[in-house]
Symmetry: C2
Subunit: 203 residues, 2 copies
DNA sequence: CTAGTTACAGGATTTGAAATTTGTCACCGA
DNA sequence: TCGGTGACAAATTTCAAATCCTGTAACTAG
């Protein structure tokens, strides 16, 4: 007797988030999720192919929200590219710091996916690189940045700020000085991006 | 009957390295080390206060060797600072890549220490920062770099190259493109360090 | 045909007892 | 007194049995 509820994917995702928050990513089971919904675990498998797929859907939800938040900053033409780049790089760090503070379990679930080489993580990086490339392209267009290839430059900037965007450094983001460190790295990178004509630094 | 051998700290370290290589850092025990030396494990504790101290001593040996290798590059005044910085940053990566290839178990032992917040790891970072600051100070002195504080700048450069020097990224160092990525980051950083007078990039 | 059920095989995880390891101590010989 | 030994308590690890979880399948109601 199913009693009630049509049980759509979104309802399952909400319940999964709740279970993840309560039990943490290691102890959360599909059976727990089903129990919270008042159905058998097989019902969940009608909507999601695997436990992995369920975890990915939950994480993708959060990452898509982040992507949209950051996209607003990246696309804001009222802010000059030099300043926009700095703001955006800080925001990338800030949204992750906020998640760790408010939803450590869900953040840990994200970490597990990334370690498992899920495409969810790599897709998100691709999204971020696209936004970064857009900022840099804007800067190249208005003459504030000197670059021949905005996408390549975006990758370089992303690598140079790995300490502030890569999951592997999440433990260090608790450190109070981390924002100032990012600021200093930004300053040096911006010097490089704005540098005139280019010195032959291969010398 | 001790039979032979005065058994000094160095002999124990050599045996420990061998055991670590054979068993890996998780399965290597001090009883194993003692057995390999033909003594009881209590004898090992006469020379090292704990298993942790033994692991640290083995790792410190390797790190000190690295430090010395890199110090030669850092102090080589025959190479101009701009080029020396690039070479040194590549060498930091290269020595770690080599260890992973040749001695994966010992490298893993290093990772365990770093995760345990041993001072061995932080001391080594301090050493590297000192070398980096020396290169940058040389560059400031001969006018190739513009900086008011070589040590602060060294920290910034180190953070910006975290992807290529921080243990957390060790898995990515297998990737064939990693050297080229570092090269690109170096180029951008060098542009920033060499940039004239400075643009007010706070704008 | 969709969205649920029960039943079940195979794989992971938990559990608790046994074994091993760590670290200490009293003692011993050169 | 230095460098070793054997015996030991406490903590940790191992291993096998039991349990639980994942994923599939055959079945059912609307």
């Amino acid at each position: 007797m199913p009693a009630r509820s049509p049980l759509d994917a979104d309802t399952i995702l909400a319940a999964t988030e709740e279970i993840l928050r309560r039990h943490g990513p290691d102890k959360a089971t599909v059976v727990d999720v089903a129990r919270a919904l008042g159905v058998t675990h097989a019902a969940v498998y009608k909507h999601f192919a695997s436990k992995q797929a369920l975890r990915e859907a939950v994480t993708r939800r959060w990452l898509d929200h982040n992507r949209d938040t950051l996209a607003v900053l990246a696309a804001d033409r009222t802010v000059p590219p030099v300043r926009r780049l700095r703001i955006w790089l800080h925001a990338v760090l800030a949204v992750k710091q906020a998640k760790i503070r408010e939803d450590p379990e869900l953040f840990a679930a994200y970490g597990i996916l990334a370690a498992a080489h899920s495409t969810v993580a790599t897709d998100h990086v691709a999204d971020l690189l696209g936004q970064l490339a857009a900022i840099i392209a804007d800067g190249a267009a208005d003459g504030s940045f000197r670059t021949s290839d905005a996408e390549a430059t975006a990758r370089v900037v992303f690598h140079a700020t790995a300490k502030f965007n890569h999951l592997a450094h999440a433990a260090e983001w608790q450190n109070p000085g981390i924002g100032a460190e990012l600021d200093e790295v930004c300053s040096l990178l911006l010097e490089g991006l704005q540098a005139p004509a280019s010195a032959k630094n291969k010398e």
